[in-house]
Amino acid sequence: MHQEAYELTVPAEPASLKRVRDHFRPILGHLAGDRTEDLLLAIDEACSNVIKHRREEGQGPTEDLHLRVETDPSLRLLMRLPGFCAVADKDKIKPRDLDDVRPGGLGMHFIAEIMDCVSLDPDPDRPGMLLLTMEKALDPEHLAEDPSGDGDA
């Protein structure tokens, strides 16, 4: 399997979430088959987290969300979101206890449940910020022909 990479940049606002899902749905459908909707949920939750935190911090117009979805030769799907959060906020990013039934705080739980591996590393392009990388092993049976005939989108 050759490597494929797809990127999308959208304004960091709630109205962008549907656009993100609509953009990546056919791509993930091609790569991940019946896991597509779960993977879209993980992307959506990651983007929502960024949008909510920036809003809570009272930031005005903020930097766009930039998403990169790629595959590697070992059949892993890598989804990257630069500028996910500030280094100082790293400890706040964790799934919450589900035994306490209350609204909110489920996004990171969903991501952790859906993905095989989630990591936060220093963002090489944004000092003081972290890059979110979410990984999922792909099932070769789900892989179809590249619908675009061209990996880079």
């Binding site: 709630p14 109205a15 549907k18 909707e37 879209l40 939750e45 589900l98 489920l106 996004g107 969903f110």
Partner: protein
């Protein structure tokens, strides 16, 4: 993106939700459900037409459930779509809500 219609019956109100529930649209659902739950009336939410829901949608449903519990009012999810059921299950809330199958 999210259509909300309310049907009143003698047994209470049913909110028919159709579309996608995410960070953008969940506030509309919360705005619709909050006064209904605060009134103490039984409320049913038909989720058969919801094709996508994320954690913000789940949060709104939990908030409505909690408001209903405070008022002693019933809160029932009706015919959740396969996708909604999957998300509730992922949140381990499928046993917390009263869920009515479609008919």
């Amino acid at each position: 993106m999210l259509d909300l219609n309310t049907q009143q019956t003698p047994a209470g109100a049913t909110v028919l939700a159709k579309g996608e529930i995410d960070l953008e649209s969940a506030p509309e659902l919360l705005q619709k459900l909050t006064p209904m739950m605060k009134s103490g009336a039984a409320v049913r939410v038909d989720l058969s037409g919801v094709s996508y829901m994320d954690s913000t949608g789940v949060a709104v449903l939990v908030q409505a459930l909690k408001l209903g519990q405070k008022k002693g009012a019933g809160f029932t999810l009706v015919s959740p779509s396969e996708r909604v059921q999957a998300v509730l299950s992922l949140a381990r809330l499928d046993q917390v809500f009263e869920i009515e199958a479609g008919g």
